[in-house]
Amino acid sequence: MFKIIKKEVLAPMIKLLEIKAPLVAGKAAAGQFVIIRTHELGERVPLTIADFDREKGIITCVFQEVGKTTRELGTMIPGDCITDFVGPLGLPSHIEKFGRVVCVGGGIGVAPVYPIARALKDAGNDVTGIVGARTKSFIFWEDKMRSACSELRVTTDDGTYARKGFVTDLLREVIEEKGDIALCLAIGPLPMMQAVCALTREYKLKTIVSLNSIMVDGTGMCGSCRVTVGGETKFACVDGPEFDGHEVDFAEMSRRSVIYKPQEKLSIERYDEAGARRPGCGCGGEK
């Protein structure tokens, strides 16, 4: 049982949980993920690590309520326990002094970008951050990102906050302005990552993306998360989750990401009919 220590609502449908998991936190690094199961009948779902505190033994997860499991997770409050929580899984981000780097976070993607940007800055890189969201209410962690980057630029699709436009618009400006960028990191919805890669390909700017595929075990056993990278099949759980974005077959990836759409719809409908409820572990906030 893994106790929830803190909860924040960052934006509509976007929530943050701090979870006590000392063994995971002890080894967690930027770029890795955990797999959670909210209750005994639950599914195993991967969540990217948005932050970690090794000393306090805490992992921070930020998630968007998109399916039944994340909706259910969103109802949980401090003191509640998550039945299963395993990690840190996947390979950590490759951190070294590259020189000048750009970190792009779109929507929920800002959360996993944050610890990577911080690690890159700590390694001595000049980090330009780009944060984008659909509209003002979906912008979160601007302060945290500002502290993790040497410079931060913000945009909203509808112009309700900061610049109007897409992250790719800002990215093009940054590339044109700075010229000598060594690496781009982009995390967000698949179409955003795909658009970023299309842009950076023009500039031959190496771009790393992080893929949130459908997974079951998360340890390389099932192959549910397989993705074609550079013509080869890779498992996002053990070979990733980060890959060279210019090599990723995004068309395949996006088709595979909706395999269970009808079942997810059924699950959500059933959940709504029964009335949203907190998955109780019955431990009443046991230590």
Partner: protein, 478 residues
């Protein structure tokens, strides 16, 4: 029912007492256990078929060295408590072995009766007495006083559970680290409920807890800690690696990443471990189409094909490149699959998976084969016939062509020697690896094999670990 014992010389019934099974038509639609188990009279009658021959040839077929005639004699006398006690001296998972061991290639193969008749149904008797005990929980296992030595067992499959049980009985403090959220490894995620009820596995796991084995679930060794850290920082005096063969192999043919193509591991894990057959009560979904092709001819392929029927597939096909004779699956599994309506396409070699514009599987291009020369495995190898391409219309494909060793622990352990296929190199006599204090056994060493061979390896390693701890590991305060 009972054998004729009135005359001085006992007449031997030529056939085994038959195993009651669920009706094939019924069972192909449910996940309940297929083989129902003997009733008491049948088990006693079967046990009496054993002639208690002096040379006990059956023993040479048992990887865990159970004193087979001894427990059968007790079963014949209805001393089931004595029988299970005798088995448990050597085998910590009898309810599992009684169900999934390939006895026809092991103990029963060497049975004296088998020369003229059917052998004694050793496995079925083992299952009966194990179930008898599980339903009563009467047996208290004796455990040696604590030695103060700590052993980490990585993986809670058959190898790990056996090793853990043997070491715990000898008084060592054993912690089993399991990556998944339940203990049991392949017994939980791989072998289907209808062949091995998960309740039986958990009952065996609970028996281990009773003798002091600790289970740390949700712990992936190589991630939260390495083997080296377990020994240096966590204070474990020895480590046993039994991480199995969990890495699924794919065909490496075009279209294999299409939606509707599963590895057998994923197909079975979703169904068994995550209980996708109870979706939406359970949250994990699975999609089985109308016509399923399972590629492969082993037990995992049979399990997948039979699972597909139970999930509602209209047709479930085994697609195998050789013939029925060369299939590595247990005969009993093949027969059960056939009875249930699984269809077989032999001498068929898939070359390409076809998909529609939404990327969903719509067919499979196959070549017909003929058998050629014998290959390294001693089986005649399939040779595709040029120009024999045809399309098999299917909407789900399950790839069950084998699994490799899970690379996570080998990759993260310093100084651990591995083979070309990623398997850990360990001495077959002792389970010792190239690294002092680290032992390994089961599928991670041999490549995918059987439950009982993994158990045998776990038992062998436990003996060596016990010896190693007695000779090498420093004394430690308990």
């Amino acid at each position: 029912m009972a054998g004729d014992t009135t005359s001085g010389k006992k007449s031997i019934k030529p056939f085994k007492n038959s195993m009651p099974v669920q009706d094939p038509v019924q069972r192909a639609k449910n996940f309940k256990e297929v083989a129902l188990g003997y009733e008491e009279e049948a088990v006693v009658d079967e046990a009496r078929r054993c002639i208690q021959c002096k040379n006990k040839p059956c023993l040479q077929g048992c990887p865990v060295e159970i004193d087979i005639p001894a427990f059968i004699k007790m079963a014949a006398e209805r001393d089931f408590a004595g029988a299970i006690k005798s088995i448990k001296e050597k085998n910590s998972l009898p309810a599992v072995c009684g169900r999934v061991c390939p006895q026809e290639n092991q103990c029963e193969k060497y049975c004296t009766l088998a020369k003229k008749h059917q052998p004694v149904a050793i496995g079925r008797i083992e299952r009966y007495v194990a179930d008898w005990e599980l339903s009563r929980e009467v047996l208290i296992q004796e455990v040696e006083p604590p030695t103060g030595k700590k052993v980490a067992v990585i993986g809670s499959g058959p190898a790990g559970l056996t090793c853990a049980a043997d070491l715990a009985k000898q008084g060592h403090s054993v912690t089993v680290f399991e990556a998944l959220h339940v203990a049991g490894g392949v017994l939980m995620y791989g072998i289907p409920e209808f062949r091995l009820p998960k309740g039986v596995v958990q009952a065996e796991v609970n028996n281990l807890k009773k003798i002091g084995v600790k289970f740390q679930l949700n712990c992936v060794v190589g991630k939260f800690a390495t083997v080296d850290e377990l020994m240096e920082d966590w204070g474990f005096d020895a480590v046993f690696i039994g991480t199995g063969a969990g890495l699924p192999h794919f065909m490496k043919i075009p279209g294999e990443n299409a939606c509707g193509v599963y590895s057998a591991n994923e197909f079975l894990t979703r169904t068994n471990l995550m209980k996708a057959y109870l979706f939406p009560e359970y949250d994990t979904p699975i999609r089985v189409g109308r016509k399923v092709a399972v590629l492969g001819g082993g037990n995992v392929a049979m399990d997948s094909a039979r699972t597909a029927l139970r999930l509602g597939a209209e047709e479930s096909w085994i697609v195998y490149r050789r013939t029925e004779k060369e299939m590595p699956a247990r005969r009993e599994e093949v027969e059960h699959a056939m009875e249930e309506g699984v269809k077989f396409a032999f001498l068929t070699f898939p070359t390409k998976i076809l998909h529609d514009e939404d990327y969903w599987v719509k067919g499979m291009e196959c070549l017909r084969c003929e058998l050629g020369e014998k290959d390294a495995s001693g089986r005649r190898s399939p040779v595709p016939i040029v120009g024999s391409e045809y399309i098999m219309e299917v909407d789900t494909v399950v790839v069950a062509i084998g699994q490799g060793p899970n690379p996570l622990v080998p990759r993260t352990t310093k100084g651990l020697e591995c083979g070309r296929k990623g398997n850990i190199i360990a001495c077959s006599e002792t389970g010792a690896t190239s690294k002092a204090g680290v032992f390994a056994g089961g599928d991670v060493v041999t490549g995918a094999a059987t439950v009982i061979l993994a158990m045998g390896a776990g038992r062998t390693a436990a003996k060596s670990i016990h010896k190693y701890l007695s000779e090498n590991a420093p004394e430690r305060n308990i």
